[in-house]
Amino acid sequence: MALDYRKCAEEIYSHLGGRENIISAAHCATRLRLVIADNSKLDKEALENVDGVKGMFESNGQLQLIIGTGTVNKVYDEFLAVTGMTAATKDEVKAAAAAQAPLWRRILKVPGDVFVPILPAIVASGLMMGIVEAIPKFAPAFGATDWFSFLDLVANTAFALLPVLVAISASRVFGCNIFLGAVMGLMMVHPALINAWTVGNYAAGEIPTWHLLFFNVQQVGYQGHVIPVILSILLMSYIEKWLHKHVPEMIDLFVTPLCTVLVTSFITFTIIGPVFSVVENWVLAGAQVLITIGAGLGAAVMGAIYPLTVVMGLHHMYNVIEAGMISSTGVNTWMPIASAANFAQFGACLAVALKVKNQKTKSVALPSSLSASLGITEPAIFGINFRFMKPFACGMAGGAVASFLASHMHGTDMAGNVVPFGATTYGVTGIPGIPAVNNTGMYLIELLVAAGVAFALTWIIWKEDEQPKAKKEAAPAKAAEKIEAPKTSVIRCAAGAVLQPTKGKVIAREQIPDETFAAGILGDGVGIEPEEGVVVAPFDGEVTSVADSKHAIGLESNGMEVLIHVGVDTVSMNGNGFTPAVKEGDKVKAGQKILTFDRAKIKAAGHPDTVVVLLTNSDDLENVECGAK
């Protein structure tokens, strides 16, 4: 039976906690991807049971509903109609999700977000530049032809005017008008400014200078610069948003763009540009030093830790360094290291693929290793190497050795001069990197060493009977999830028993170091001197309240109302040190973890950490009996 798209969309919508709880919606090939304001308002169980939803998971701040190829787009269209939302692109959904990530992650994400979209332009230019520059080495006459001159122009356009691409991409990332962003980028490489690459031909005093207020601004362009451009656009996004908010709508159309560009360009040329081109030069110099110091040891270290940065998702940051290197020296000496590191992961993964007997692992490892050889290492790293850990470490070793070698290699540029070994582009490693490097023979040797070392080490060290690390971790986690009800009870009455929620010595209510609790004003119960900072549910029941200050949880079961209050006077800690694992309305099983607390923090705040367990409606219940049993 065909799925009723409308009904499916309506049902999904009905379980999302209202229109205002949906920040944005998009879909990919199989999934409906939603960013939700408050996940606690979702009815997850109901969502999974909607006819047409094949599965659901939460990842990166997105709620993803698996609907299926060919169906998801139809459900999505209906979903937009039902909710009255406008279509969001996947990027917008990712941006909305990122807004919910912590600040440092958002900052680290910026370079990747800016550079990944312009990769096609960079790769096209870079590879063509590699080929165009390689030909004259074999056929010197080619360098004098019109074809060479034409292809050279085509190849270097993206790099010569890189700030424009960066500005446009950054405008999309920071959410400002991309045409104004383009204007900023174009301005920074305006033909009326002295080209940053030829400024060396001028004597210091000859460079034309503007005198603007207190600033002396040299009329030099920002060819090859990246960081000043990104920061300029970031600034522009704030100025633009501020103006949109404060300028009356009638004149917004012309006042806002005018003021945005004017203010941004002034600050860019007077402060951001001069300051951050210097900072950028330091970063580049630092990176170049890092990979050349210690007679190649620096490079070896970088080659080893590179895959770790891939695992953490930080490797897109290197784009800034690589783009800067190409723009300033024409040689990306970072690329051989990235290549060594990536190709070593290929070697390690291939060793696993050939050695493993488990068909399932083999079927993952083989294509993953092929993909890694083409420079896309994520499947190999996450699917195989990092899971088994040893292949990953062997890959790191291979990367280190090959990077060390690479730092001792040299290449030649078009004119036959000896230059450091590197590439003319970035964003390509492994086999696709071949046309981009300035010494193909050396590059092949480097790749062979990287993969060879990693392959050999993995082949020797890794044994199949070792389970994937993730599985090992999952096994005890599963055991922990298997909820075990505590064996002793602390309060019993006609309606049932309250099991001991925290390990430790049970004391009589009268001994709780607090008058109100001890006097039984809140009900009869016991105190527990905790041995560990974990509270579990004392029965199968429902959570009726979680204090704002997180230190007390109320539960109900079969007419018994129980308050578990951790520590005395701990309300004044305002939740610091307490982590509830449940929320109001949750159903819990006896023994299920409901709260963790930090005993040291309670002690440090000067409070007793006695866990108070009270049957708050003990007056209404019969045969109430307290004490451990």
Partner: protein, 86 residues
């Protein structure tokens, strides 16, 4: 029915212990129903859990309604109680 508004001045608000003594106080007045309202949420003040679940904090204004026998007299006593403890 009698009712009064009260703005909480106790720094911890009506949490476990204060809520406990309020419940205890109200239990003294058999035959009256006391309701505490904050915003659009109302609870029977005899229900300790419900009362705590309201998350009443310093600065919040609550409405206390008393219904039943001797409500005039009881209301005065409860208002006095709020002023003393919260």
């Amino acid at each position: 029915m009698k009712s009064f508004n009260y703005t909480i001045t106790d720094p911890v608000g009506i949490h476990a212990r204060p809520a406990g003594i309020l419940v205890k106080e109200i239990k003294n007045y058999v035959g009256t129903t006391v309701t505490v309202t904050k915003g659009d949420k109302s609870v029977n003040a005899l229900k300790l859990m419900a009362l705590m679940g309201m998350g009443i904090k310093q600065g919040d204004t609550v409405t206390v309604s008393i219904e039943g026998e001797n409500e005039e007299e009881v209301a005065a006593k409860i208002e006095e109680f709020f002023k003393t403890y919260f």
